[in-house]
Symmetry: C2
Subunit: 248 residues, 2 copies
DNA sequence: CATTCATGTTGATTGGGATCAACGTGACCG
DNA sequence: CGGTCACGTTGATCCCAATCAACATGAATG
């Protein structure tokens, strides 16, 4: 199980469990030193709208954030779920504009950096630059896995896979243990992440519960049979680039 | 229509149609000067296997390349299709390892750079670094759009959307005009990109043909009704970050 | 020329998840 | 305390795409 370390600092969870040790003390100090603001936001708050010009990037410190796109009828498709330690919209730094919306799920605490400050921090720090770049590519790797989920798995597999992913990611930052973690999603949100309807997610959750694999109730996930869930979701955590690459 | 310019150089199509003008002559010269090899590969060649350690990155000069992942039964899900000008696996530079396979579709010509050479080129060139980073994030943006496609669109919408995307991307690098472009995919490949079966793709293509929207035959796509196809696929090219952001 | 193999095409049937509809449950609140 | 509202639950029905099966077409090969 991952230990909770360094959470007294702002960036304590950044890349935790994934090559964080490659960050030097100077790298971390430089990042910490250029934080612009730390603030809290309530649940269900729209943070950034697609097409908006962005000049700051935000790291999630506590809580959950999602990114999503709307279809013509206004139905949402989640394209990412962020957990503490994630640099939510660092891709806005090279991109300057986002192609999707970003909103909080539950209440959150976030820190933000002006892009100008980030540029300065990266100057003369090729290694830090590469680590920041790497962190944006982790999102891309997760995107790919989500494509796989939607393209190749049935409803139960999709939910199982997502739960496995969140479990591993939260374990890496010390926020899940023994397959138990908080998740402030409604069944409808889960549906929007899995390309299903809320009604069907409800049935899938019931099935997983009855089969003794997973219970999701009151915003708490309890994975009861990790192996079975991983099998059902065809889940292999390699795409998350964890430091300890165990297969389970 | 995009003009074909600069194709006499190796990197002539890199970022063409998307902020290429932000690359300085020095940036381009530095990239050109550090190419390791240029070579041709036959169709259906596996280039990189998931999990493999990578030390070079490859730009596609001619032809088409795909990235994909296998499910448990060996069925493929394409997660990306690359067109000339794409830096196919630049994400391998910060990542050092890939989470998916890469293979050619038709025959291709590619150029490659050792990562060490890329690191050197980026040194002291923060702007070039940011443009290279940007190019990897374009892939992430396309991934997100693919998630949307699979999660929210029906079979016809998925095929329509993919065709719209390829048309715009190929136009940007001067390889499509009037909605006509070569595409060395079989119906089965299209199915693997769209999360459908080959049989159903066949029916979808017939429907699109009969409705006068699109003809795909013998590796050639002809878009007959661009507007209708974009509507069907809920396609908005903004996520491709084109220089000329027209809505169509 | 016959054979084989990959690819495309079409029909019949099945099934998973959407949709429509109703009701349950608990938190909040006037 | 009764009403309302958000969310969850369950049943009935429908429909899109999968699956199974057969055949067509054309290129490559003996």
């Amino acid at each position: 199980m991952a230990e909770v370390t360094g959470t007294e600092t702002i960036t304590g969870r950044f890349l935790m469990g994934r090559r964080r040790s490659q960050l030097t003390a100077d790298d971390i100090a430089a990042l910490e030193g250029s934080v612009q603001t730390v603030r809290s936001l309530p649940a269900r708050t729209l943070m950034i709208t697609a097409g908006e010009r962005v000049t700051v990037s935000t790291m999630l410190l506590e809580g959950f954030i999602c990114r999503y796109m709307d279809d013509r009828e206004g139905l949402r498709q989640l394209v990412a779920i962020h957990v503490p330690g994630d640099f939510v919209d660092l891709h806005g730094f090279p991109m300057e504009m986002l192609d999707h919306d970003i909103a909080t799920l539950g209440p959150v605490k976030v820190a933000s950096w002006p892009h100008a400050a980030l540029a300065k921090v990266m100057e003369g720090r090729p290694n830090l630059t590469r680590m920041l770049w790497f962190s944006t590519l982790l999102d891309a790797a997760m995107h790919r896995e989500w494509i796989f989920r939607l393209g190749r798995l049935g409803a139960e597999g999709r939910v199982a896979h997502l739960m496995c992913e969140l479990n591993v990611r939260l374990e890496m930052v010390g926020l899940a243990s023994d397959g138990r973690f908080p998740l402030p999603l409604k069944q409808a949100d889960l549906a929007e992440a899995c390309g299903l309807t809320g009604v069907h997610v409800n049935r899938v959750l019931r099935s997983l519960r009855e089969r003794g694999m997973l219970v999701f109730r009151n915003g708490i996930v309890e994975i009861l049979d990790r192996r079975a869930l991983a099998t059902l979701g065809e889940f292999d955590p390699a795409y998350l680039f964890p430091d300890d690459l165990r297969k389970d």
